[in-house]
């Protein structure tokens, strides 16, 4: 297999696509000096942890993002796409992780959206349906008629249509971002067969996946991204899954976080029994002790956010129980209002959507969940009490602001995040659910938030933290739960964890061959 992909250094015109020192930063650097060379007819795998930069690189290649530095060469020519129309015109098609199908259109219309050259071109229904039917046959959806509205398809079927749509383009470079995440093993195998056929015709493929087994079997060569850098590019024949995981975790994988007091015996705080929701189909059970920092690790889409939503009562519980032990009593949580009443606070992953009121003041944002604490019995707000409480909290948490009446949108990400903590401290939360508590904040703010979490723990507050950064979890947590494909697959204590073991657990459900359970 490797023979088809000879290294051709120095002969740029012989390469399908070359990335030269591509750099990209959002809040923090995402890609740093990424150099890749992919010859025609080569299937090139891209693997890495969440946030390693795989999807960003794919988006830059098809013009959905622009690189801050570096250049692209397509067949030896400089290539600078500014949108997907450019990249399509140049012969590059993407099958995106976030499906780009229009639910209200039929399969045929969706496929056509992609291929028609002009927006005014008349839609020739008959030929469109024939083309679409052929493509559906190719991906294994021959039983579905092209007239079907996409909204009625299952997630796996939609993913197949998305793939079919990509195949409709006659591209010479296909970029596939997690194309098999919703597919069963036979469906994925079929796709891999198609890709090999395409490669034989000279089409190059960039294949991004968390399924390391798939990557090793279908790709000719694979690159590992870590922290936005290419750490390794090797022919697949010589690689094992274990080697990939080691490289993804990094050389410092076994670093030991500054030691902390061993687990102290503390009373039970939270008991989760066989919890199921529509988004967490496999029962989840675990306990959490008072004053513990419990980490939740897993790949994107492994159900981490969904677990916190379920604990907070945002997602309807289908089975099992979430019980809070307080003052010897045990109470159940059914909705966010009850959760807050029993001392649970949620700092959501998407701060701008589920946390911040950006056009309101800092004081408004801090007190909004605990208005009862700054009002009298008639529901009248007591301004002096509000100002006093907010000033005390933003002082204690060192929220940088021009005062409590500053608009939230004028604060930095780190200060916004600290004020989310202040919100829950204001209403007396004793169990904090933190989803990516340091995403999108700068390094200084990140350290400040870590220090604050340790202080909170020492004052008896329990924390459950989701993070994509294993280092963060390892330095903060007493215990780490690992989710893989919406199952709770492992639990690690300080004494027995390592990055490799946690990562291996996070990938464990992807490696299993019986992935016939479709995640919807």
């Amino acid at each position: 297999m490797t023979g088809r992909c000879p290294r051709q250094h120095g002969r740029l015109e012989n390469l399908r696509i070359v990335t030269n020192g591509i750099c990209k930063s959002f809040a923090a650097p995402v890609l740093r000096d990424v150099d890749l060379e992919i010859p025609p007819g080569c299937i090139h795998g891209l693997v890495g942890e969440n946030g390693a930069g795989k999807t960003t690189l794919a988006r830059i290649i098809v013009g959905l993002e622009s690189a801050d530095a570096g250049s692209l060469l397509l067949d030896g020519e400089p290539y600078r796409p500014t949108n997907t129309a450019d990249s399509l015109g140049a012969g590059i098609a993407i099958c995106a992780q976030e499906l780009s199908l229009v639910d209200d259109l039929s399969i045929a219309e969706n496929i056509l959206l992609h291929t028609s050259t002009s927006s005014l071109a008349r839609i020739r229904r008959k030929s469109a349906h024939e083309t679409a039917a052929a493509l559906l046959g190719l991906v294994g959806l021959e039983q579905t008629t092209p007239r079907t509205r996409v909204g009625r398809l299952s997630l796996a079927e939609k993913q197949l249509v998305e793939i079919a749509k990509t195949m409709a383009t006659d591209a010479k470079l296909l970029v596939l971002d997690e194309p098999t995440s919703a597919l069963t093993a036979p469906q994925a195998d079929r796709l891999h067969g198609i890709l090999r056929d395409k490669a034989r015709e000279g089409v190059s493929v960039i294949y991004i996946s968390h399924r390391l087994g798939d990557v090793l079997s279908v790709c000719d060569r694979v690159s590992v991204l870590r922290d936005g850098r290419v750490r390794l590019t090797e022919d697949c024949g010589t690689l094992s899954e274990k080697a990939l995981i080691l490289e993804m975790a990094g050389a410092d994988a076994d670093f030991d976080a500054p030691g902390r007091a061993a687990e102290r015996p503390a009373p039970l705080h939270l008991a989760v029994e066989s919890l199921r929701t529509s988004k967490l189909p496999h029962p989840i059970s675990f306990n959490c002790r008072r004053g513990e920092i419990l980490g939740v690790a897993g790949l994107a889409g492994s159900g981490r956010t969904e677990l916190l939503s379920a604990l907070f009562g945002l997602d309807k519980r289908l089975a099992g129980s979430v019980k809070i032990h307080e003052d010897g009593r045990t109470v159940e949580v059914r909705n966010p209002r009850q959760a807050i009443k029993h001392g649970i606070g949620l700092v959501a992953e998407d701060r701008s959507r589920d946390g911040v009121f950006r056009d309101q003041t800092l004081a408004f944002n801090v007190t909004v969940a605990g208005l009862g604490r700054i009002s009298d019995r008639t529901g009248r707000l007591i301004r002096s009490k509000e100002a006093g409480a907010v000033e005390k909290l933003i002082g204690a948490l060192r929220v940088g602001s021009n005062g409590v009446h500053q608009k939230m949108r004028e604060l930095s990400g780190g200060n916004q995040q600290k004020s989310m903590l202040a919100r829950w401290l204001h209403c007396g939360s004793r169990l904090l659910l933190l989803d990516e508590p340091t995403r999108g904040v700068d390094v200084a703010a990140k350290l400040a938030i870590h220090e604050e979490l340790v202080r909170l723990r020492d004052s008896g507050i329990t924390v459950i933290a989701v993070s994509s950064e294993l280092e963060e979890l390892q330095s903060l947590c007493d215990r780490i739960l690992v989710l893989s494909k919406r199952r709770l697959v492992a639990e690690f204590h300080r004494s027995d964890w390592s990055q490799q073991r946690i990562l291996a657990a996070a990938f464990s459900e992807f490696a299993r061959e019986d992935t016939s359970v479709t995640v919807t």
């Binding site: 959501a348 959507r353 946390g355 009121f357 950006r358 009862g372 009248r380």
Partner: protein, 321 residues
Amino acid sequence: MTLERRQFVTQSGSRVFRVLEENLIFVSLLAIVAFFGLISDSFLSLTTLATLFNQLPALTVVSIGMTLVLISGGIDLSVGSVVALSAGVIGAGISLFGLPLPLAACLGILAGALAGLANGGLGAYLRLPIFIVTLGMLEVARGLAYLVTDSQTVYIGAKIQAFAIPWGGSGVSASILVALTLVVAFEFVLRSTVFGRQIVAVGSNESAAEVSGIDPRRVRCTVLVISGLLAGLGGLMNAAYLGSADPNAGIGLELSAIAAAVIGGTSLMGGRGSVIGAFVGVLIVSVLQIGLAQIGITEPTKRVITGAVIILAVILDRWRA
């Protein structure tokens, strides 16, 4: 960076300018009054004031409700028809069924509240688009108003007019006092109560409000009930002013109320607004109407100018933000 820029602007701008900018809406009202006072001899008179006070109450109470709904991120297109429905219920109650005035008045307001409850139940709890729900209610309530009045203006009599007739020559009636009291009361609710905060929170970011333990459905539904109830009260005021129940009352009133709220600084996207502002918006719209009529501007031109003022208000508002 935004902060630095703001500080820079504030420092470089003169103090007078800043005061003007912060009170732009009051300044505009004064400017409009001064303008008509200068070019028309009869504008600054008690007659103008009486005309204004007659028109004011119904639009004011309806605008209060509209402002709360808009701040919560919704809209209520049904208020004009609900005014007519309430007036119709009151008229029919008194003239056809011989009910005492207080009971009939309560029934009228109750009809408004029920219309609001229907809007709220369908819009908030069944999650139907509120624009369409209240558009439907606009037709339903208007139809019901025709049904209860048999499509005729129902004469009620002098008794109900006591509510709207000014005391002495002052121009001040019970209607206008009630309206002003409600403006102050609801401004207080909005600024200084837990419920007011919840309205702003839901309109500002519904999802974050839910995570903060606020029930967005309850808040959305409640403001629509308040809006219906206040439109019902508007029906009473309208009937009192006319001395009869007109099933054609309040046509287009929802648009005037939205205009008043927007002129008063309320955002159609929710999360921002003020009841006092809406009241000043009502004054601006009303003064403009009366003033333009007095200087002999024809109805079509009046509409062009009023429309332009609404658009101007939004432009100024965007520029300030």
